[in-house]
């Protein structure tokens, strides 16, 4: 089974535990995906131009920021691969059984797009990001599913496994 596992940068270990508790790792082929959200950066540029009335930031300085985000995504995925390999039931998996990839764009759209083009049999996603280190998780209720997970559930071309903290 080809499963697309969506990381948000804060929930890797928890996701790994949940997945291996629920799914049979034997016939599992996992793609770990992290999407660099381009929304805030684009909005920020628009805001600058609208309110400050000045043109775009210098291309090389914008590129510095983009590179930093890519490096961060790469580090995050490398760490995630280690976590998943270490927790894989019955020892580390074959190289073909797990891979990691990062994309840039609106996370919800990129997840749906990749799941259609790969194609995936299953999308695995957490219900929403944690609010912050000092904040308790969202209580059950409509707000416990964030906008990314909500969009994926609504638009996915395959079944979705929505994981939420107990």
């Amino acid at each position: 089974m080809n499963a697309l596992c969506c990381l948000d940068g804060t929930n890797t270990e928890w996701l790994a535990r949940q997945i291996f508790g629920l799914l049979n790792a034997h016939d599992l082929r996992l793609v770990l995906l992290y999407v660099i959200d381009s929304g805030p950066g684009q909005d920020m540029e628009r805001m600058r131009q609208r309110y400050m009335g000045i043109g775009q930031r210098r291309a090389d300085l914008l590129a510095q920021a983009t590179q930093a985000e890519q490096e961060q995504a790469a580090e995050l995925l490398a760490a995630a691969l280690e976590v998943f390999r270490a927790q894989w039931p019955g020892g580390p998996p074959d190289a073909a059984q797990i891979e990691a990839t990062s994309l840039r764009g609106r996370p919800e759209q990129e997840i749906v797009r990749l799941s259609a083009s790969t194609p995936s049999d299953l999308i695995i996603i957490g219900n929403r990001r944690v609010r912050g280190p000092h904040e308790p998780p969202h209580p059950p209720g409509p707000k416990s599913v964030g906008h990314v997970a909500r969009f994926v559930v609504d638009h996915a071309p395959c079944p979705v496994l929505l994981l939420r903290p107990a």
Partner: protein, 442 residues
């Protein structure tokens, strides 16, 4: 000169004219706040101004006189925006941010303090909008590279932008508008607002350190950042920009000391930077017009005429009478009422229109002591500058933070921001207002 009511609104009954003016005023503010179909604020304000003229509430001649009379403000905006854009092009702000990171020597807490101080410095000399709209993206990029928790830093940028916006007359365009309408100079400004300014900056930093103490523990690796010099693309242009900005900073102080128009310094500095940018090929003549968006000027011009309309039907005189009856000759009451009114009003109708309404109201005060008048002027600047920290709608700049915080475990709603604003801002407003009152007594 105010026209008698009979001369307004094509001879319509005074009640009809008043209703029309209030209707246009409210409709303009509603359009600016609600922005149906992404309507540009400038178009809304200009439409309001044109409606005031079309309804005969403000004559075209009066409108022209007001706009020409406020040339200092328009030129200041033009100069300040150009200065900021060209300094940014030189990598000046990125260089400053990298220096702030270097000086932190790996300590997250020290970096946090440095970001506050840098924000205050940029607000002081380039205005609050420059801190919120130019520094925030730079700090965001910086902390992404340093792998430090982003949220406290982004809050710091957006809050200090407004908190430090009454250190100097040039720190906020509202200060220039108020000072030029009441003919006040640097010393009056500093006497009234320096101590309150330093106090609220201190409170802002202290409370944020307390609130975010858990996220600020630890160190960062400065190696991830590269040297400050990496922000500089053209060494000679950068040096030139640094020198011109130094001269502009000193000239701001000298010119406001001798009560001459500050717009001359801003425009002069901008012209020098522009010459340098052309000399070192950092901008091109053809692209020059696109570097600045002109809508901000439409917004200010439209709002000037709309508020003039409300003024000419005598509405602000009523507000002035109300203010006189509440404050009387008591400077403490005047400061507290003025500050509260300005801060709450800034959050309801945005701070620029609120400042214009208050200026008009203070101008219509009769029979109040000079002390009360000065207290209200100080309170107007203070409340309209700082008040926007209370909610996200208060000033155009604070809208920005929400967009940034959506990312990476920072699912923060405007309610969260409001909670933070509601903790810190009233405290700063109260202590600042008391300090202004104290300074009036000295």
């Amino acid at each position: 000169m105010k026209l008698p009511l009979a001369a307004l609104g094509y001879g319509l009954p005074a009640g009809v004219t008043t209703s029309m003016a209030v209707g246009i005023f409210v409709a303009t503010l509603a359009l600016i706040m609600l922005r149906p179909k992404q309507l540009n604020e400038a178009l809304a304000a200009l439409a309001g101004g044109i409606a005031m003229i079309a309804a005969g509430i403000v004559s075209p001649w009066q409108a022209l006189q007001t706009l020409l009379g406020d040339w200092n403000i328009f030129l200041f905006f033009l100069g300040m925006l150009t200065l900021s854009a060209l300094a940014e092009r030189a990598g000046f702000f990125d260089w400053l941010a990298a220096q702030a990171a270097q000086l932190a020597k790996g300590s997250t807490r020290r970096l946090y303090l440095n970001v506050f101080l840098l924000g205050a410095l940029i607000s002081a000399f380039f205005s609050n909008d420059a801190t919120a709209l130019i520094l925030t993206p730079i700090v965001y990029s910086l902390i992404t590279r340093l792998r430090v928790s982003a949220m406290p830093f982004l809050f710091a940028c957006t809050f200090i932008a407004d908190t430090a916006s009454f250190l100097l007359p040039v720190s906020n365009p509202i200060n220039i508008i108020v000072l030029s309408r009441f003919n006040l100079g640097l010393l009056d400004f500093l006497r009234l607002l320096l101590l309150p300014s330093l106090l609220v900056i201190g409170i802002n930093i202290g409370v944020f350190f307390l609130l975010f103490r858990r996220q600020l523990i630890g160190t960062f690796e400065i190696k991830r950042l590269g040297t400050p010099a990496s922000a500089i693309r053209q060494q000679s242009y950068f040096r030139y920009v640094a020198i011109v900005l130094g001269v502009v900073a000193v000239a701001y102080l000298v010119i406001s000391l001798v009560q001459q128009p500050l717009s001359l310094v801003a425009i002069g500095g901008a012209a020098l930077l522009l010459l340098g940018a052309l000399r070192w090929k950092q901008v091109q003549w053809k692209a020059l017009g696109k570097e600045l968006s002109w809508s901000i000027f439409g917004f200010i011009a439209g709002m000037f005429v709309v508020v003039q309309g409300v003024e000419s039907i005598g509405l602000t005189q009523h507000a002035a009478q109300l203010l006189t009856s509440v404050a009387g000759s008591n400077t403490l009451a005047a400061t507290l009422v003025g500050t509260t009114g300005a801060a709450v009003g800034s959050n309801l109708i945005n701070n620029l229109p609120m400042a214009l309404v208050l200026i008009s109201t203070i101008g219509a005060l009769s029979g109040s002591t000079p002390g009360v008048r000065l207290a209200l002027i100080g309170a107007t600047i203070f409340g309209c500058d700082l008040g926007p920290n209370l909610t996200t709608v208060g000033s155009l700049a604070t809208v920005l933070w929400l967009l940034l915080l959506r990312r990476r475990g920072m699912d923060v709603s405007s309610l969260d921001y409001f909670k933070l604003g509601i903790v810190v801002t009233p405290l700063m407003l109260l202590i600042g207002a008391l300090a202004i009152w104290l300074m009036l007594k000295v």
